[in-house]
């Protein structure tokens, strides 16, 4: 993986020193809150309902064991012993005190990490497929592209005051595990007919108040043109994006209002002007970055322990749901669920982080990933080590076999922490997972993604959940709206609103009725919830959600 060079190191250290002085001046009264707020936001520090929150970037979700241990140390020393992994592959600390934040940033810098551009109207942490470099279906590792974009966008002088925040995601496979069509720019690495690598560039996607699916602006961009083309897109948006209305300021609205053809023409024009200014340094840099992401030296070992362990039903269930195909057939990608029923989605204790770091170091080529679905991935594990890993995960309460199932719920922090939230999301996730655990139906139900947001900004990606839940404030009471049929993959669909919302007491029974309706209507166990919904549409699910309406009509 990529390691900071002298430039990165000096840049991050300087920023920590600068922020330390700013915090001191805020505390001694030389800076007002109005002056300080944009400075703290540039460094990932928010003020929420009960405390400050520090959002730390995990670029393209990649960590080594040393970094994970440092995240654990920070959680114990300056927070309450845990961290929250987010839907943009970041980690959030919910309880730092203002005076401690510079020391936390210093500790991050010690392991090549930072909180820069995790807030504000800038280009945010660039995310990537969490199976990058490991997936069997991959054309190329998306992380070198993401790292190049990170270096280009960090402190980019033209893009520090964009009309609104700007999010980029990259995938190297046709199967989209990075939700690229719901990003300001989505990038898919692919090969053209001549076998050359290049990029499908997608622009103007996003969730939030006005969900939009990104549109293809260039079907095939040659590899060499990536940075000038990305710069052209952001540059056109920077001038054209609406600064008069915060709710219309994202590039999705710019693309929607001007049309993709006009945006494409403007971007191509800008690209033609910019391209000659890129001297080739970007290409040289990219080559160096690619070297840093060379695949590990695969090891050979006997996989019989794994084959034998499959006789154990608990191990079998875990292997069935939590393992994915690796590009090396002797290896597997292990998804470690942070969604034990009743637990807070995405939270890991410092002790759990250390176990994960140890496993990565001992068995996993020292690599860890954070997925946008708020789980932790061990991307390179030889099958020989899987039984040992499963045993260690069990000991750390991390062996929940539910990846992709109904209790593997994405949930934003909601009104338990977030100052923007209109309702809570964590308790809803906890109750749904606990309920289906009691029913022992989870494996019978099969693939089903529930995603919960505690406000219209949609950090919990509810629009692209097979079942999406949006928490709102209806006349001073928490109220939950359901959307159905959303899909965050290469076949992205924005879910359809099912009807009136439900109170906090009613939402779990409503979800249960939906699931029973699915089980009643599916052809057989091979037809997933989403497939059944696509075949039958909203009607049977709506009938299950609102039985009283059906009774009234009868």
């Amino acid at each position: 993986m990529y390691h900071y060079n002298d430039f990165d190191e000096a840049f991050v250290r300087n920023r920590v020193a600068e922020f330390r002085a700013q915090v001191e001046r805020r505390i001694d009264g030389s800076l007002t809150e109005d002056e300080f707020k944009p400075l703290r936001l540039m460094n990932g520090l928010y003020l929420q309902l009960h405390a400050y929150m520090l959002r730390v970037a995990i670029p393209y979700g990649t960590l080594n064991s040393r970094q994970m241990r440092q995240l654990a140390m920070i959680a114990e020393r300056w927070d309450k012993g845990y961290g929250h992994f987010t839907t943009r592959q970041n980690i959030q600390y919910n309880w730092p005190e203002l005076c401690d934040v510079p020391a936390m940033l210093e500790a991050l810098a010690d392991v090549g990490m930072h909180a820069i551009q995790t807030s504000g109207n800038t280009i945010r942490n660039v995310t990537a497929d969490h199976f990058a470099g490991a997936a069997a279906d991959e054309v190329a590792d998306p992380r070198p592209v993401a790292e190049l974009l990170r270096q280009w966008s960090t402190d980019h002088p033209e893009f520090q005051f964009l009309p609104r925040k700007f999010k980029i995601a990259v995938t190297g496979a046709e199967a989209d595990r990075a939700v690229i069509r719901a990003h300001d720019i989505g990038i898919q690495i692919l090969r053209n007919d001549a076998g050359e690598l290049g990029y499908r560039m997608i622009v103007g996607g996003g969730l939030g108040r006005t969900p939009m699916i990104g549109k293809v602006i260039r079907d095939f961009l040659p590899e060499a043109d990536l940075l000038p083309y990305a710069e052209a897109i952001v540059s056109v948006y920077n001038l054209l994006g609406r600064r008069d209305n915060k709710y219309k300021a994202r590039i999705k609205i710019t693309v929607h209002e001007h049309g993709i053809e006009e945006i494409r023409a403007l971007v191509e024009e800008r690209f033609a002007a910019l391209k000659p200014q890129f001297s080739g340094v970007d290409r040289q840099l990219f080559a160096e970055i690619q070297d840093a992401f060379a695949a590990p030296a695969w090891t050979g070992a006997n996989t019989s322990a794994h084959d034998a362990a499959l006789a154990d039903p608990v191990y079998r269930a875990w292997a069935d749901t939590n393992l994915a195909a690796h590009r090396n057939p002797d290896y597997a990608i292990v998804s470690v669920s942070l969604k034990k029923p009743g637990a807070t989605p995405g939270d890991a204790t410092a002790a759990q982080m250390r176990v994960l770091a140890d496993l990565a170091e001992t068995f996993g080529h020292d690599e860890l990933r954070i997925s946008h679905e708020q789980n932790v991935i061990l991307p390179h594990v030889h099958k020989a080590y899987l039984p040992a890993i499963h045993k260690a995960l069990k000991g750390a309460d991390l062996a929940t076999a539910n990846i992709g199932l109904i209790s593997d719920i994405i949930a934003c922090p909601g009104m338990d922490y977030c100052a923007l939230a209109t309702a809570r999301s964590i308790p809803v996730a906890q109750e749904i997972a606990t309920r289906f655990e009691e029913l022992k139906l989870e494996h019978e139900i099969g693939a089903l993604k529930i995603k919960i947001s505690g406000c219209i900004n949609a950090c919990g990606h509810h629009h692209v959940g097979h079942i999406g839940i949006l928490g709102l404030d209806r006349a001073g009471v928490e109220n939950y709206q359901i959307t159905l049929g959303g899909d965050g993959t290469e076949t992205t669909v924005i879910g359809e609103r099912a009807g009136p919302g439900f109170s906090a007491d009613e939402i779990v029974p409503a979800i249960e009725r939906l699931v029973w309706a699915y089980l009643d209507h599916r052809h057989d166990a091979s037809e997933t919830f989403l497939q059944t919904y696509r075949r039958l549409g909203l009607a049977p699910f709506k009938a299950a959600l609102y039985p009283e309406a059906r009774a009234d009509a009868a």
């Binding site: 505390i27 929420q48 309902l49 400050y52 309450k80 919910n94 005190e97 203002l98 005076c99």
Partner: protein, 99 residues
């Protein structure tokens, strides 16, 4: 006709800890809403808010929040303000930890 004024408290977050705080009648900031000054007059509320906003070394983001008279002092009206008096629902952290 303007809407009838409903009782308010002045609340903010503490600069150093970020914790929720409330302005008391004797010009202190309390971590407990029950010690807050319950303001029933609109002009007085605006004055108290201005006074709160002029203390940036202690309080961040001061605003007026609806409150009601309870047996032991002011109580929150809206659920968001109720959460601010307790802490999150997923862990016993925040104010509920101290009590």
């Amino acid at each position: 006709m303007s809407r009838q004024f409903t009782p308010k408290v002045v609340t903010a977050n503490a600069l150093l800890e970020g914790d929720a705080i409330w302005l008391t009648e004797d010009d202190r900031w309390s971590r407990d809403i029950r010690e807050a000054e319950l303001i029933e007059d609109e002009a007085h509320a605006q004055l108290r808010l201005l006074q709160a906003q002029s203390q940036p070394d202690v309080a961040v983001g001061a605003y007026l929040a609806d409150a009601a008279k309870g047996a032991t002092g002011p109580e929150p009206v809206h659920f968001r303000e109720a959460f601010r008096t307790r802490g999150p629902s997923n862990y016993p952290h925040g104010k509920q930890e101290i009590r």
